[in-house]
């Protein structure tokens, strides 16, 4: 009996001590589509955040404390995103790097604002995210109005006089991006031959593809995510169409080439200038490669988001979200993807979208505006 009491005391003491140790950690969160059709990008977000937290802890942490990372899954579903946001707010977490799908980030941002959480999204590009005057939002990527302009200009220069079709998947991101591209195209004097929507999650696009065939479409612009774009491309090639497919930043995922196989060659999409090639990123890219991770897509953007918050929190001397946000908007930050400055809405001042082309070996490379 005495031994049991002693053992119980020991366990209790160690628990108390360990919880005291945990009290020393600052928990931050990363939220994204860890499951579901966008899970490859969720993995990118997670990799970026985990590496950033590890590096920051190795350099001494924030305000003398180590960082702990809480990973949350929204499955690219607005309802789940909202409840994840409530959960993170309830846990008293001061900062979240997330989400990815604009249709998730936007409802989540309202919950974060109510619960005093600072949100920096690595990959939500829909303009509405920063246009509603919420104090707690910022992003590391560009916006769809910029992206649509770049896409529209490219199409106007390289597909003059051809038949263009614009598709969207009815999500916040997809429709927003497709409409911005349509606006840019119409402004350049080009009218699209076909404007249609499909449902995200559908697999059969053969009817739509036959319609593209009947209209002799030369370029189809897809405002949507990579899985449906990949299926549309695959089914187009199955039906004998040589139409070029162009998409947005959601197509910067390696899985796209797994779905299409070598048929991916010639597909175009817009994304920021490849962060892996920037000199500021070289050392960190090597660290990722040492772990057998290719930091593609939004990996380094997430890393940058955590970096910005860390630097701002250190500068402000506190993790209080409102004070940190004021600091972020007032300063310029050196991150893995370069120097970033913010405007009062939370958008970065640097415009950066370029056009990429997939090859037949499952890789992609930048192309110049003049097309190649």
């Amino acid at each position: 009996m005495k031994l049991l009491k002693l053992a119980g005391l020991a366990v209790g003491a160690s628990l108390a001590l360990s919880s005291a140790a945990f009290a020393e950690d600052i928990t931050i969160a990363v939220a994204g589509p860890m499951t579901g059709s966008e899970s490859p990008v969720g993995r990118q977000l997670r990799n970026g955040a985990e590496m950033a937290v590890a590096d920051i802890n190795a350099a001494g942490g924030v305000l003398g404390k180590k960082l702990a990372l809480d990973v949350e899954d929204d499955a690219c579903d607005p309802k789940q995103a909202r409840s994840v946001a409530e959960k993170i707010g309830g846990m008293g977490i001061p900062f979240v790097a997330g989400h990815y799908c604009s249709s998730s980030s936007i409802p989540a941002s309202e919950a974060y604002a109510e619960n005093n959480v600072l949100q920096i999204t690595p990959g939500s590009t829909n303009p509405t995210f920063t246009e509603r005057g919420l104090w707690n939002v910022a992003r590391v990527c560009g916006r769809d109005d910029q992206q649509g302009t770049v896409a529209g200009d490219y199409i106007a220069k390289n597909f003059k006089g051809k038949n263009i079709a614009i598709l969207n998947d009815k999500t916040t991101y997809g429709k927003g991006l497709a409409d911005e591209t349509k606006k840019a195209l119409n402004k350049a004097g080009i009218t699209e031959k076909l404007y249609e929507s499909y449902t995200k999650g559908d697999k059969d696009f053969n009817a739509l593809v036959s319609r593209l065939k009947a209209e002799n479409i030369d370029l189809v612009y897809v405002g949507g995510y990579y899985q449906e774009a990949g299926l549309i491309l695959r089914q187009m090639r199955d039906q004998g169409l040589k139409t070029i497919l162009m998409g947005g930043d959601a197509m910067a995922v390696q899985e796209f080439a797994s779905i299409t196989g070598p048929a991916a060659a010639g597909t175009l999409f817009t994304f920021g200038p490849d962060p892996r090639k920037k000199p500021t990123a070289a050392a960190i890219v090597d660290k990722f490669k040492a772990k057998n991770i290719d930091p593609e897509g939004y990996t380094l953007y997430t890393y940058a988001a955590v970096q910005i918050w860390t630097q701002a929190a250190a500068k402000a001397g506190t993790t209080d979200p409102k004070k940190v946000m004021d600091t972020i908007k007032a300063g310029a930050w050196d991150t893995v993807i370069g120097k970033l400055e913010y405007d009062s809405k939370g958008d970065i001042k640097q415009l950066d979208f370029v056009v990429y082309k997939w090859d037949d070996k499952g890789g992609y490379a930048e192309v110049s505006q003049k097309g190649s």
Binding site: S39, K203, N206
Partner: protein, 305 residues
Amino acid sequence: MDYFAQQLINGLVLGSIYGLIAIGYTMVYGIVGMINFAHGDIFMIGGFIALISFLVLVSFGLTAVPVVLLIVLLVSMAITALYGWTVERIAYRPLRHSFRLAPMLSAIGMSFVLSNFSQVAQGARVKPVPPIITGGYTLHQGSSGFVVQLSNVQIVVVLTTIVLLAIFTWLVARTRLGRDMRACEQDQTMAALLGVDVDRTISMTFVIGAALAAVAGMMYLLYYGLVDFFMGFVAGIKAFTAAVLGGIGSLPGAMLGGLAIGLIETFWSAYFSVEYKDVAAFSILIVVLIFMPTGLLGRPEVEKV
């Protein structure tokens, strides 16, 4: 005319896959009077097993496409049938004499169990597979330049569906098992009194339904090249709708319903708008049910006195 022909091909292939799944729903309803909501997920399991079998066979160095396809077909039918049998034993048989809704609730629960099991066991990502059957035929080159294309995969899907439907119709009409199924469908108690092993017959119904769903899963994998853990949900709903449209309890009805849904979706996309194709399919379902409550080929419940 060419455009119509191409869309007809698209619709028939899509409809065949729906039809294969719908048969499982309709058979189970006919014999035990319950909607097997887990059936869509059995279809998903079938797709996954087909994918895994493919990868295993390819890693063994087998590359002759017809041989691989046949083996994968048999293996996925067998293993998925085992899943179907297990689901029936665990989730439905104990509740057979319970209140009417109990098996249905159990089915919904089983549906979640299966899709989450798949998510945990196989990962949350979509699993793509490079095109296995490639090539096709140019059927007709129209004067406007529109080319009607028929791919080999489409031929395989439709042929497999026809063959299986033929085998299955023969099974129900001419074999002892089929006679037992029809007997249980008409009057379970009487059939038991006349020496039919009701438990075994019901189990076999689930097993055959699961096998057909496995074929649908394999066709889906060949045709679209993707499987994921939540594909059972939407396909299940559409196939269930197809079964109801064709007349729940009627076998040819299930196939007819499947083809109808596939054709409606395709032709609506072709001539009106892609955006509202699902709205169109379900609206037509409602209209049909208003005028023909038991579906297109359904038999009204006859009260025997």
